[in-house]
């Protein structure tokens, strides 16, 4: 294990994956809250032709150049998207679909063309589809850290402006902030966040790194700052785990492994998240149901006692069951009431209100009337 941690390649891979997870988680938080998750998807797919054209023009596989190509393609994709929604009647979701498929289709075409050309050193290029963390060099990680760190610095500096943009854009305009410029800036940062992850995770699945950590973080907190930090932490965790697993395994693509890890985090968060986890709301529901049912069993017993000349007459549990929707719970409810001293069991399965139960039930009935 020690030798693993000191292995240069492994360390590089882990560092790179952590950087991309932190940056993608932070920027994804804003993308998610601004309902731009699909934009992230379109931008990462749009990057593929950018990478390939950069390679064709320079014949270089240096990540800096390829990533630059990806960024340019991402920006062109964003501008095309804005132009389509602005100057045609096509809505944004359709426009996103068009950009995504046209750019990605063109990218695949270029990729097959390049692969047929034996002189091209194409071996590394298709790793951009699904990512290959093992190909990261320390040089690449430094580049990623510079761009990603820069993006994070801008987010921290313009924190209140970006919050305003995400929550209430019109109000921000009325306060005098140039919201369109802030929008373009934040979207550009998102493109940077996507592009720095392309080599490791790939164009197909990079959008998951934007959406999933933020979605998981939202389940745990109701504060924007905490959400951003948590999303970064989840992103880093998924990135590092996925990248390490894929570099240890026999040539597994990193993208799919990272996405599997982050999916597990999302699932766990959905169920157990502190702020809105499904498990907790299920438990609350059960508890409420139990309280309601216990009250209704008490009311039923009171009603039966009223029907009977002798109010001390005990009633069969089956009668109560017939009066109740959740048959299975009646006995539990009676035991709970008995524990509070409100009812008692006379003979087996026959129940009667105690004086305390009688008093409580009649006061409740008065409250209802």
């Amino acid at each position: 294990m020690d030798s693993l941690l000191f292995d240069y390649t492994i360390r590089t891979v882990a560092l790179g994956a952590a950087v991309l997870g932190i940056v993608a988680g932070a920027l994804g938080t804003f993308a998610l809250l601004r309902r731009q998750s699909l934009l992230g998807d379109a931008m990462s797919h749009a990057a593929l032709p950018g990478v390939l054209i950069a390679f064709m023009l320079t014949a270089s596989k240096a990540p800096v150049i390829l990533v630059l190509g990806a960024a340019i393609a991402g920006v062109i994709g964003t501008i095309s998207l804005l132009a389509i929604t602005r100057y045609s009647r096509i809505k944004e979701d359709t426009a996103l679909g068009i950009i995504l498929s046209v750019f990605f289709g063109f990218g695949l075409l270029l990729l097959t063309f390049l692969q047929r050309n034996p002189t091209a050193a194409q071996a590394g290029l298709n790793t951009f589809l699904f990512g290959q963390a093992a190909t990261l060099l320390m040089r690449d990680v430094v580049t990623m850290a510079i761009f990603g760190g820069g993006a994070l610095v801008v987010v921290v500096a313009l924190w209140k402006e970006f919050k305003l943009l995400s929550f209430d854009r019109d109000y921000g305009t009325s306060l005098g902030f140039p919201m369109t410029a802030l929008d373009i800036l934040l979207t550009t940062l998102l493109v940077i966040g996507i592009v720095i992850g392309l080599q490791a995770v790939g164009v197909v699945l990079m959008s998951a790194m934007i959406v999933a950590p933020a979605a998981a973080a939202r389940q745990w907190t109701d504060r924007l700052g905490q959400m951003l930090v948590l999303a970064s932490a989840f992103g880093a965790l998924a990135g590092v785990t996925g990248a390490l697993l894929s570099s240890l395994g026999s040539g597994l693509s990193t993208g799919p492994v990272v996405v599997l890890v982050i999916s597990v985090i999302v699932l766990l968060s959905l169920f157990f998240g502190a702020s809105r986890g499904l498990a907790w709301s299920w438990l609350r529901h059960q508890r409420n149901r139990h309280v309601l049912q216990t009250q209704s069993v008490l009311a039923n017993l009171y009603y039966l006692a009223g029907q009977h000349p002798d109010s001390d007459h005990a009633h069969d549990i089956e009668v109560l069951r017939a009066m109740n929707r959740y048959r299975g719970g009646v006995e539990n409810s009676l035991r709970a009431l008995a524990a509070e001293g409100l009812v008692r069991e006379t003979t087996s399965n026959h129940w009667v209100l105690t004086d305390a139960g009688q008093a409580l039930a009649s006061s409740r009935e008065l409250n209802h009337a």
């Binding site: 209140k160 929550f167 921000g172 939202r218 109701d222 924007l224 905490q226």
Partner: protein
């Protein structure tokens, strides 16, 4: 004394809108609107759905680019006078599931004064708390905004506008779907603002309460049907001209007699 020394005082209008015209895809939404509002009054904008009430407010605030028109705030273009203007958007215009607290939303009202990069601090937070106190929401400062009722959301937005400390307020349907407590709180607030000499323009949908809550009214239906003091312009005749045959409400010479309940509850685009 001032009146005597200033021989010809320029009439200082709080809001002066001239020839405002807005069109979406060639279709006019607002047509040649003129409106002059003196300071210190409460003005209601009423009109049927699609009359352009919200569009009017948004174009005065520069959120929609008009085809033509001139907007002056205290005699100067709006862009120079932003600080004097507070805005309360429609409550439905934002995502109330956004991860933030009531106090945080109200603090946003100070962002314009803070300027770029600066973070809100203790001063801003106490101003926000003070505003929340005024709208009866002090106990909710720490609440996540998704836990608020409609009326509480509205009061949060009002508090946010209050901390802007503006001279003129534009409020878009603040009475829309709120509970009685909130309605009362808003009315009290409007009166307090008027007492401080502030001007408030409110998009309103309940014709019955216009004479009770407001001093002035503008009846709008793409064109300006009438504008002025409620007693002068809130007449059956003008209402019929604004609402066409659809009006189920007659002002009865401004005393407010209702025949059938009008329901202009849909948000206007």
């Amino acid at each position: 004394m001032d009146e005597q020394t200033q021989q010809n005082p320029p009439i200082s209008l709080a809001i002066d809108v001239a020839d405002l015209t807005v069109a979406y895809h060639e279709k006019p939404v607002l047509w040649d609107i003129d409106l002059q509002v003196p300071p210190g009054i409460l003005l209601a904008i009423v009109g049927p759905n699609g009359a352009g009430k919200t569009t009017f407010i948004k174009s005065v605030l520069g959120l929609i680019k008009p085809v033509a028109g001139q907007m002056l705030i205290y005699g100067k273009p709006y862009a120079e006078q932003r600080r004097l203007v507070g805005y309360v958007p429609q409550r439905g215009s934002v995502d109330w599931d956004f991860p933030t607290s009531v106090l945080d939303v109200v603090t946003m009202g100070r962002y314009g004064h803070l300027g770029w990069f600066k973070r809100p601090g203790q001063a801003e937070r106490s101003q926000a708390l003070e505003a929340l106190e005024k709208v009866g929401m002090a106990d909710y400062a720490g609440r996540q905004i998704s836990q608020l009722s409609g009326g509480q959301q509205q009061r949060t937005f009002l508090a946010r506008a209050l901390v802007q400390d503006a001279q003129i307020y534009f409020m878009d349907e603040p009475f829309q779907g709120v509970d009685a407590t909130t309605e009362r709180a808003i009315v009290d607030l409007l009166k307090e603002l008027r007492a401080q000499g502030k001007t408030v323009v409110v998009v309103h949908h309940d014709l019955q309460t216009v004479p009770e809550y407001f001093d002035w009214v503008m009846l709008l239906n793409v064109r300006r049907v009438a504008a002025g003091p409620v007693g002068n312009v809130f007449t059956d005749d003008n209402l019929r001209r604004a609402y066409g045959g659809r009006v189920g409400f007659l002002a009865g010479n401004g005393t407010g007699i209702s025949e059938t309940e009008p329901n202009y509850g849909q948000p206007v685009i």
